[in-house]
């Protein structure tokens, strides 16, 4: 199978070489230009662009670096004369573009590409965008920091709940980072809504900060601003490859998410765009992913044979993402609601949340010494208050509620405005955290 693919590829290359070597006799010559909007760094895009241009010398690739938000806005506002491709990690950004009819369908002809990676399909089932690499979520830590603060080495999500890690952990907000959103969603689906929120809030009690951009977390861990970050693998792996004193581990329950590329609707250089998709999925393109500065997980299975020993393989290593059965429909219904809820309970009330958990940790230590029954009861109540969500799973998927967080449509009536729900949740969080703190303080004093 491998050889046939290889031969196909060579045949394709040969065909293209023919087109550009001789007169453009083929029906689909590549255009002279290809404009790609991307949120990836030059370290990632550079090698692909160079190799593609070498393969197709007649086509000049123009890279426009924009943050994901700016990229989506740019494509939305430039409908009349759009760039050709959008190339980024966050699957939610592609969903937004797809819903806005800003992407066009294509069926990549490459074979030997995995159907699914981790919990989700590699490609958009409707064919509007394509996964070209996968990435897993995990824990990145600064070795100098961990040593200086005598922290244990974190291995599992549950480790991050430990009192030792108080004030040492960072994350980006799911409303700001599509990949963090998927991690949060995976935890909620894996552990169930109530237990999942309890875990998130308990880990949240140890947060040093909630960053407004994905790259803020590895930046802070690299600098030693805090010691432990919940990040996507290539942030940790590429920082290590660049020489920072950091390590990255996959916890045994993690989520694997594809990084994507899509062709913009109305792209003027459609043939070149299609060729670029094929190139990314080709053996040569996929092998580039192994570069230490890129460090993404290929979706072409055969490429793992060339990978250095110890390179994570989500298709062989069963613990990488396969334990959770991820339900896309569930995720989609509550997407916007979940972002807002996380911000209400954690991002905007981080001070109150961490104060509550600080008191709970102190009380836990005190109660384990005093063995006071009264103290244990108070403490259990405090924990419950500091780890519960204001709405149930059923409410979260109720269109009357979830719809308030989506674009207003006359045919979709909602129970209340977004701002009204947010105010309720905010009040819930403040009240609970304050009460949890005072209960924990009572528990610590109980004899």
């Amino acid at each position: 199978m491998f050889t046939t693919k290889r031969r196909n590829l060579l045949a394709t290359i040969g065909a293209f070489a023919l087109i550009f070597g001789a007169a453009p006799a083929s029906a689909q010559p590549l255009e002279e230009k290809l404009v790609i909007v991307t949120s990836f760094s030059r370290d990632v895009t550079g090698p692909f662009v160079a190799a593609f241009q070498k393969l197709h010398p007649g086509t000049k690739v123009e890279i426009q670096s924009r943050s994901t938000t700016a990229g989506v806005s740019f494509i939305r506002e430039t409908r009349s004369n759009p760039p050709d491709m959008f190339w980024a990690s966050a699957p939610d950004a592609f969903e937004v573009l797809k819903k806005g009819s800003l992407l066009q369908k294509y069926k990549p002809s490459a074979t030997g590409i995995a159907e699914r990676v981790g919990p989700s399909p590699v490609n958009d089932p409707e064919g509007f965008y394509f996964g070209f690499a996968a990435s897993g979520y995990g824990i990145m830590y600064n070795t100098r920091y961990v040593r200086a603060n005598s922290l244990p080495i974190p291995k599992e999500w549950d480790d991050l709940k430990k009192p030792e890690f108080f004030g040492h952990v960072g994350i980006s907000a799911p409303s700001r980072s599509g990949t963090t959103h998927l991690t949060v969603e995976t935890i909620l689906q894996g552990e169930g809504w109530d237990k999942g929120w309890a875990s998130l809030l308990e880990i949240g009690g140890n947060f040093a900060s909630v960053s407004d951009r994905s790259f803020g977390v590895p930046d802070a861990v690299n600098s030693g601003q805090y010691g432990v970050g919940i990040v996507i693998d290539f942030f940790g792996l590429s920082a290590k490859a660049s020489g920072f004193p950091v390590e990255f581990v996959y916890p045994s329950v993690t989520t694997i998410v594809p990084a994507n590329i899509g062709i913009v609707a109305g792209a003027k250089n459609g043939n070149a765009a299609k060729a670029f998709v094929e190139f990314l999925l080709s053996d040569e393109g996929q092998t580039l992913l192994l570069d230490p500065k890129i460090q993404r997980l290929p979706v072409r299975l055969s490429v793992y044979d060339k990978a250095p020993a110890g390179y994570p393989n989500p298709f062989k290593n069963a613990s990488l993402g396969s334990r959770v059965n991820f339900n896309n429909d569930v995720s989609e219904v509550r997407y916007e609601l979940l972002n807002s809820l996380f911000d209400r309970l954690i991002t905007f009330r981080l001070k109150e949340l961490t104060e509550a958990w600080k008191s709970i940790h102190a009380a836990t230590a005190a109660v384990s010494k005093s063995r006071s029954a009264e103290g244990q009861k108070l403490l259990a109540n405090a924990r419950k208050l500091a780890s519960s969500a204001p709405i149930t799973e059923a409410q979260a998927k109720d269109p009357q509620i979830a719809g308030s967080f989506q674009e207003k449509r006359p045919d979709k009536p909602v129970a209340a405005r977004q701002a009204e729900f947010e105010e309720q949740w905010d009040a819930f969080a403040r009240r609970n955290y304050a009460e949890a703190k005072s209960l924990a303080e009572q528990a610590a004093r109980a004899r």
């Binding site: 760094s41 969903e95 920091y145 105010e423």
Partner: protein, 579 residues
């Protein structure tokens, strides 16, 4: 100093023009400015912000009611006001002595101190944040040293007080520049009279000198307040979200969100910023700051005693060291190999500079070009608006001032989206592409965003200028435009220069609108280059090196402007052109 009687307006004018105290030239200027603001500020911003007033089918104010019913919004509003006021206080404590020393005493290198005083305004995106954390952060150099030596930390960058600390270090140049310009305009005769009457030292400063320079101080303080009030970079860097600007930003920039609250907050930010400036102007109302004597070269410079000199130098060095420590951090970052959880980088290298000079030469010239155009537009518009608002009675003149000022609170991303929405469909002739992505549009976007700075500086300068000087010129037969060009503009030069420098320096590091409007590397400015590098761990060094380049570019431009201004002033003084 003979008193020039106010002359009745010349007779051969239509009644309207007389009532407005305006010439057709003034009206033309007003129309031009209005057109510029409508085209590049109001229409683009309105095309985005209308969502705040839209409930899916019609006009609504329910979103504004929601704002006032939401406790986190009210809390954020108070936090923002508190941080704004405290920052003005702290920034004044740094800037007022610095301005006074440099203007008052005979110092060697006053231009250098003034230049270094501007540099804090140039905080390159991302790089500045990383450097700030590496120097002042919980595990930054200073705290690591403190922990080692004494076993405690100082939470420089914690919560609202951290925001105040960082903002004050960042924006005190607004006060420094405007106050210096004002101080330089004070008539030395005033000071001498006071001295003859026995005032000296603190009494002379607090009763005569400072009050006369008040327009400059108020302009600077109002800008600091408005800028801090609307700044989102610093709170986000410190992960403080309970302030208005970050609340608006987090909502406006979430992918694909149609939530109106972000635009509601933006609108409220605009209203509150304009109100703050208006209140500050009210504080100056009914007072006279203008003096007629000019050309004396400002306050008499005097030699200072040895003790005073040591104290003054001590303060200047301490203040500049504090204010420039983030830039020292950026410099270290740009020549360091790996810098992580340590006082200094592990090793030093020049490789990052080779990288950027190989890859990023064009960014530099683009930045200079765009920012110079933007700053030029700003001082021209700023001076015209100030003149129209203060010297004519044209209807709507204050509205022009307020609209221009509102730009201070418009998020760059909103302006960027608005410009794309309005001008992308407009094609340039000769196949030059769309108007929205044409390079000149970047300069225009910068000019709109930075106009408030130049406007406040120009207004302050004009406030100190006595109208009788213009009337005297007109009585002697000069036309309005000659008076403007030969009398008013030269006498406002200090304020215009301050406006130019602040606009230029801050435009050099603008990112959010840049990210939307740049379409080709060849047209990209430095801030875009820094963004591109700072997206990966390996790019931190080259990104910092570009940051250093941005700082150097601005510093050289600033220093040159001061040199030119000083030479100009010296020339005027020497030739005895005391007007």
């Amino acid at each position: 100093m003979t008193d020039v009687a106010v002359q009745p307006a010349p007779v051969r004018r239509t009644p309207y023009l007389a009532r407005w105290a305006a010439t057709p030239f003034h009206i033309g200027c007003a129309a031009l400015i209005a057109a510029y603001l409508v085209a590049f500020l109001i229409v683009p911003v309105a095309s985005v912000v209308f969502v705040a007033f839209w409930d899916g089918s019609g006009f609504t104010l329910v979103n504004f009611a929601d704002f006032f019913r939401t406790s986190i919004m009210i809390e954020s509003a108070w936090n923002s006001i508190y941080v704004g006021l405290m920052t003005v206080a702290l920034a004044s404590a740094i800037a007022v002595p610095l301005a006074y020393f440099t203007v008052r005493f005979r110092f060697r290198g006053a231009a250098i101190i003034q230049t270094l005083g501007v540099v804090p305004l140039v905080m390159p995106p991302f790089v500045g944040a990383v450097a700030m954390q590496l120097v002042f952060g919980k595990n930054g150099s200073i705290n690591l040293l403190l922990m080692d030596a004494f076993g405690f930390r100082i939470p420089f960058m914690d919560g609202l007080n951290g925001v105040i600390f960082v903002e004050a270090l960042h924006y005190f140049p607004f006060i420094l520049l405007n106050l210096s310009a004002s101080l330089a305009n004070i008539d030395s005769a005033m000071e001498e009279s006071a001295q003859n009457l026995g005032a000296s030292g603190w009494r002379l400063f607090s009763r005569i000198v400072f009050p006369l320079a008040l327009p400059g101080y108020v302009a600077g303080a109002a800008l600091v307040f408005a800028k801090v009030f609307d700044d989102l970079a610093t709170p986000l860097l410190l992960n403080v979200t309970n302030m208005l600007a970050p609340q608006a930003y987090l909502r406006v920039t979430s992918v694909g969100i149609a939530d109106p609250m972000g635009y509601v907050i933006s609108t409220i930010l605009v209203v509150l910023s304009v109100m703050a400036v208006w209140l500050s102007l009210l504080a100056l109302k009914n007072r006279e700051f203008a003096t007629q004597q000019r050309g004396g070269g400002g306050l008499s410079k005097r030699e200072i005693s040895r003790g005073e000199r040591i104290a003054a130098y001590g303060f200047i060095l301490a203040a500049l060291f504090l204010a420039l420590s983030p830039h020292i951090g950026i410099l270290l970052l740009s020549v360091g190999t790996i810098w992580s959880f340590s006082v200094l980088p592990d090793g030093f290298t020049l490789a990052h500079y080779t990288t950027i000079f190989r890859e990023a030469g064009g960014f530099m010239s683009n930045t200079i070009l765009y920012c110079a155009i933007a700053a030029l537009i700003d001082v021209v518009l700023g001076a015209m608006i100030a003149y129209l608002a203060m010297r004519t009675r044209l209807p709507g003149r204050h509205l022009l001032d307020q609209i221009a000022m509102a730009a201070v609170a418009v998020p760059g991303l909103v302006l960027g989206i608005g410009i794309l929405r309005t001008y992308f469909p407009v094609d340039l002739p000769f196949g030059a592409g769309s108007l929205a992505t044409f390079w000149l549009m970047l300069a225009i976007a910068y000019s709109v965003r930075r106009l408030p700075y130049a406007l406040r500086s120009c207004s302050a300068a004009l406030q100190q200028l006595h109208q009788s000087l213009e009337e005297a010129a007109e009585n002697l037969g000069a036309s309005k435009s000659t008076t403007l060009m030969r009398i008013v503009v030269p006498l406002m030069a200090g304020g215009i220069l301050a406006g130019f420098v602040t606009s230029f320096a801050t435009a050099a590091v603008e990112l959010s609108a840049t990210l939307l409007l740049v379409t080709r590397d060849a047209n990209a400015p430095l801030s875009y280059g820094i963004y591109v590098y700072m997206q990966s761990p390996a790019g931190r060094g080259p990104g910092a090196a570009l940051g250093v380049v941005a700082v150097v570019v601005v510093a050289i431009a600033t220093w040159l402007s001061f040199r030119v201004a000083e030479r100009d002033r010296a020339k005027r003084t020497r030739s005895g052109m005391a007007i």
